[in-house]
Structures are given as structure tokens and as C-alpha cells.
């Protein structure tokens, strides 16, 4: 019996399997590369890049929640130029699709980063218009269809690789934003970024996070993510990278049934460093058990009532 074909195609970018390390959870790949060969994954969305180096938010940046966590890292990163010079060369030597996640304060900054990263040879650019932890840009672009479309249009014009736009769940109707970025030329859509949340220490009466609020991720957000992937996949024609609380193969399969062409694993790495590779293996096992020839047969195959 021929083995299952795990490869998928995300907006023209082929991957050996549908599992991607989510941005912010996996650094630039080196840390988890000490545990296993990261080329077992389909792709890596690198830590969010900005035009200049950012130190990020003051600590505490992390708070645990029931089946999840809040973070307010605030896009700490070495800047796009340092990434291209110091991190990308090693990543390009690994058989894994490199997706550069970018955030800017103006549409022009997104455009400049798209130029640089296209020249440097990344496989795809993920345009982050949904970071809840920074003041300028970030979430402001992701909650207004007009602004989201403007950023997408500029990124698309400057990029020479596929552009994927990462959406925020912190909106009333996510399909409205999805349609706006598709109309502006997005080649793919990824979702969900984190959901805004807050925790408070009973004794000190202080929020646990120094920034008061942060973004919720982990298994707690999984059903919200599945619902939103399902809504967006039904509203647009471009492929969807689904993420939010995926921690095992069954979750990835569920996300694909909802409409995702590929699936990212994020916060699950913090509980188990091997979570992304285990997800690949478990997903393949599910596909075999269901008698699939290709794992991509799962995408959008939900039989909704």
C-alpha cells in the first residue's frame, strides 16, 4: 500500500507536510534544532520582525491561564537586517520552508521589509496585522478592513514571494477583514493571532503582566480558532494557514477539516518541545487510518450541518 502523501501547497509554496512552527513560539529555529531535526516540519514562521531592533515589553511578559497562557513579549527581535544577515543563512541551509513574519508602523515599512526579505530569498512573507502587544500599527491594522487592505496592497506590490496576511481574532466579524485582504491581493491568510486577555494577582491587586493585558494562546483558544478558520475558509478563495491552540495531530486534522490547507503549532512547544514533530507523525497516522491517499483531502472536508 502506498504511504500517504503528506505534501501540501500553500499559495504556490509546496511543503513536505502541512505542519508549520508558529511565529513567536519557535524563535528562528535554532533552539528547538537542539532537540530534533527541524526539517521534519513543513515550514517555520520566524519570530516577528520589525524594521529596526526592538527590545520588547518589560517583564513579567508571561502569565499562565486555564489550559493556556498570556504573553506580552511586544515583538522583541533583532530587526529585519540582522535577521537576514545572521539568522537566515543557517535557515536556508535546512530543508524547511521559511516564512518571514513582519510588523511595521506604517504601510511603507511593510513594503520595505517585503523588498528586503524577497531579495534575501525567504519562501513566503506573513504580514502581521494582528499583534495585540504593540502600540503603533499591529492590531490597529488588523481591526479595520480599510487599513488591513492598504497594508496588504503595499506588501503585495513590494513582495516577490507569496504574501500571507495574519488576522486578529479581536474583531466582531473576521470574514470582513479576510475579504478585505483577499481583495487587496493577499495570496494566503493565516489565523488566529492571540486573543486579548488579562490576569490579576489577588494579593498585590496588580495585573500579572507588566503591560496589564496580553494575548491568550494554548489549547484554551482552539475551538475559537477552528470556528474562525471555518468562517474565513468559507468566505475567501485563497488558502488558509490555521493556528490557535493546536497541540496534537487530531487538532491539526480538525483544523484542516474546518478549511485549513496547512496548520501551525505554537504554544504547545512550551509544554512539549517535540509537539510540532509529534503533530506531523500523528496527523500522518490519522490520514492512514482514514485511508487517505493525500493529507490535503482533509482540507475543508467538514460536513457542516
Amino acid at each position: 500500500m502506498p504511504d500517504i502523501d503528506m505534501s501540501v501547497n500553500l499559495a504556490g509554496m509546496t511543503m513536505k507536510n502541512p505542519i508549520v512552527a508558529a511565529s513567536g513560539a519557535f524563535g528562528f529555529g535554532a533552539e528547538y534544532g537542539e532537540f530534533y531535526d527541524i526539517s521534519r516540519l513543513g515550514g517555520i514562521c520566524v519570530k516577528g520582525l520589525t524594521p529596526k531592533r526592538r527590545e520588547g515589553n518589560p517583564p513579567p511578559r508571561i502569565a499562565e491561564t486555564p489550559m493556556g497562557m498570556l504573553n506580552s513579549v511586544g515583538l522583541q527581535n533583532p530587526g529585519v537586517d540582522a535577521f537576514i544577515e545572521k539568522e537566515l543563512p543557517q535557515l536556508k541551509g535546512i530543508d524547511i520552508r521559511v516564512i518571514a513574519n513582519i510588523s511595521g508602523g506604517t504601510p511603507e515599512e511593510y513594503g520595505e521589509m517585503c523588498e528586503k526579505l524577497s531579495d534575501a530569498g525567504v519562501d513566503m512573507i506573513e504580514v502581521n496585522i494582528s499583534c495585540p502587544n504593540v502600540k503603533a500599527g499591529g492590531l490597529a491594522y488588523g481591526t479595520r478592513p480599510g487599513l488591513a487592505a492598504e497594508v496588504t496592497e503595499v506588501a503585495r506590490r513590494h513582495a516577490r514571494v507569496p504574501v500571507m496576511v495574519k488576522l486578529s481574532p479581536n474583531v466582531t466579524d473576521i470574514t470582513e477583514i479576510a475579504r478585505a485582504v483577499e481583495g487587496a491581493g493577499a495570496d494566503a491568510i493565516s489565523l488566529i493571532n492571540t486573543i486579548r486577555g488579562m490576569r490579576i494577582d489577588l494579593d498585590t491587586r496588580r495585573p500579572i503582566l507588566r503591560m496589564n493585558t496580553g494575548g491568550l494562546s494554548g489549547p484554551a483558544v482552539f475551538p475559537v480558532a477552528v470556528r474562525m478558520v471555518w468562517e474565513v475558509a468559507g468566505a475567501v478563495k485563497v488558502p488558509v494557514l490555521g493556528m490557535g491552540g493546536v497541540s496534537r495531530g487530531a487538532d491539526a486534522a480538525e483544523m484542516m477539516l474546518a478549511g485549513a490547507a496547512a496548520v501551525a503549532v505554537g504554544a504547545a512547544c512550551f509544554s512539549d518541545p517535540y509537539a510540532p514533530v509529534k503533530t506531523v507523525d500523528e496527523l500522518a497516522e490519522i490520514g492512514r487510518a482514514q485511508g487517505l491517499g493525500r493529507i490535503s483531502e482533509l482540507t475543508g472536508a467538514v460536513r457542516a450541518w
Binding site: E34, F35, P58, P59, R61, E64, Q76, C269
Partner: protein, 256 residues
């Protein structure tokens, strides 16, 4: 290079009303440890994040490959951990962090405060002097104090309320020791940030280099998520899990 491993609990004892001591069968991990490193321990199925816990003692050359950790119950995760019994298995990531650079022939002034006392045990050398501080007598860990006494040249106890040892903070004892003793290789310290700052200021008056072990809320433990940031004097952020937990005191932004 860290590894992930299931470790069997060999012994679980209470050191006082607040602190627990777990001995783990740590296998290959035990021979990789440096003083001041930590284990990242998964605490129960309903919990999301691991808990970073400093290593107290280890015996990498023994057939048992034992590693001990000491922790206080601070929340749901550590409460779960405190209910572990011998024979239970724990999902452990480690050893993590940079640790202290301890030379066997070095003479160190070791300063531990509260739950910062246990990791200093791994730094003991025959010429060392230890200053161990706690809030009050009920927070002292007598079993550990005894081990410091067996291996150190001198052990000085103090407490915030004077119920055990000298009445007062550890920095007063740091000054007292440095006034009478010279020739320390370095002062190594672990404890709450205000204590570390006071210790650094005291030692700086005597020109003794200070290295401190810091604490911060942590997620990945391996340098990937950038959650456990701690501000540096030069305005940059470093990360307790990978860059630390041990930092040179002059690098740290003590006003943050």
C-alpha cells in the same frame, strides 16, 4: 545540550511548612549539570506551562544518577508538584540555563535568600563561606543548613525578623564577612531581586566580583519565546532561561 526525559521520583520530603525537596532519577541528565542550572518540570495534565526549578544537588557519577530540586508552593503548578510521591514520574526538560562558573579551588562567598538558598549548595567549595537568609525561623531549611555546615568553611544564618541567626538582611552579613576576610574569587548569589541588588552594592564596596541568579516568569525555557526577559543596564533585554539565569551583577539593570 538539554534533553527531555521522564524522571522517577526517588524521594519526596518536606523541608519546612513551605518548601519541598524532590529527588529524581534523572538518567543521562545528571552527568550534564553545572551549578546554578535548572530543570523545567511539567506539572500536571491541566497545566499549560512547565515550572523552572533550580537544581540543588546532583550525583552524576553514581549509578542512580540522582538530581534534587527544592521548591516552594507558589501556585497551582507547584502545589501539584508538592503532592508527588516516590515512584511517580515527571516530564523533565533539562539541564537548562548557563549556571555558575565554579572552580574547585575557588574561594566563594555564597549568598542565598529564601528559596534562593538551595541552588547555592551546588556551588560549595571547601574554602567557601555561606550566608543563608530567610524571612523567619519557620522558613529556614534545617536539613540544607546542615549540608552547608558539613561542606563550607563557615555558615552564617540570618533572618528578617531575628527568629533564627542574626537579625537583619544578608547584605549586612556580606559587609561583615568582607571586612574581615579577603581573597574571595567571587560572590555568588541567588534570591529575590531587591536582595541581590543590596548584596551587589555591599560587595561592590570591596571590589569583589558578583554573579547573581535571577528569576522570571518563563514559558519555553530554551530561549525561543522570549518570555522571561530581564532588563540589562545597557538598555537591552536578556532572557533568564538561555542567557541566564546567572548574570554578572554589573550587567543587570537594578532600577528596573
Amino acid at each position: 545540550m538539554p534533553i527531555q526525559q521522564l524522571c522517577t521520583v526517588a524521594a519526596a520530603t518536606k523541608l519546612n511548612d513551605y518548601a519541598w525537596h524532590l529527588v529524581l532519577e534523572a538518567g543521562r541528565m545528571a552527568s550534564m549539570i553545572r551549578p546554578g542550572q535548572f530543570l523545567h518540570i511539567k506539572c500536571g495534565h491541566s497545566r499549560m506551562l512547565r515550572r523552572p526549578i533550580s537544581i540543588c544537588e546532583w550525583m552524576g557519577d553514581e549509578p542512580e544518577d540522582l538530581v534534587s530540586v527544592v521548591f516552594e508552593v507558589r501556585g497551582d503548578g507547584t502545589a501539584w508538584l508538592s503532592r508527588r510521591k516516590p515512584g511517580d514520574r515527571l516530564d523533565v526538560l533539562g539541564p537548562l540555563g548557563n549556571g555558575f562558573d565554579v572552580q574547585r579551588k575557588g574561594k566563594y562567598l555564597l549568598v542565598g535568600g529564601g528559596i534562593g538558598v538551595p541552588p547555592m549548595l551546588g556551588c560549595v567549595t571547601p574554602g567557601s563561606i555561606a550566608i543563608l537568609g530567610c524571612r523567619s525561623a519557620d522558613r529556614e531549611m534545617p536539613a540544607l543548613t546542615e549540608k552547608f555546615r558539613e561542606e563550607c568553611k563557615e555558615v552564617i544564618l540570618c533572618s528578617d525578623d531575628g527568629t533564627v541567626g542574626y537579625h537583619g538582611f544578608v547584605d549586612a552579613q556580606v559587609r561583615a564577612v568582607l571586612e574581615k576576610e579577603k581573597g574571595f574569587t567571587a560572590l555568588l548569589a541567588c534570591g529575590p531581586k531587591p536582595m541581590l541588588r543590596a548584596v551587589w552594592r555591599a560587595a561592590a564596596e570591596f571590589g569583589v566580583p558578583v554573579r547573581v541568579s535571577m528569576e522570571e516568569r518563563m514559558a519555553c525555557g530554551v530561549g525561543a519565546c522570549l518570555g522571561c526577559a530581564t532588563p540589562m543596564a545597557d538598555g537591552t533585554m536578556k532572557h533568564v532561561c538561555k542567557d541566564g539565569p546567572v548574570f554578572n551583577a554589573e550587567e543587570v539593570d537594578w532600577n528596573a
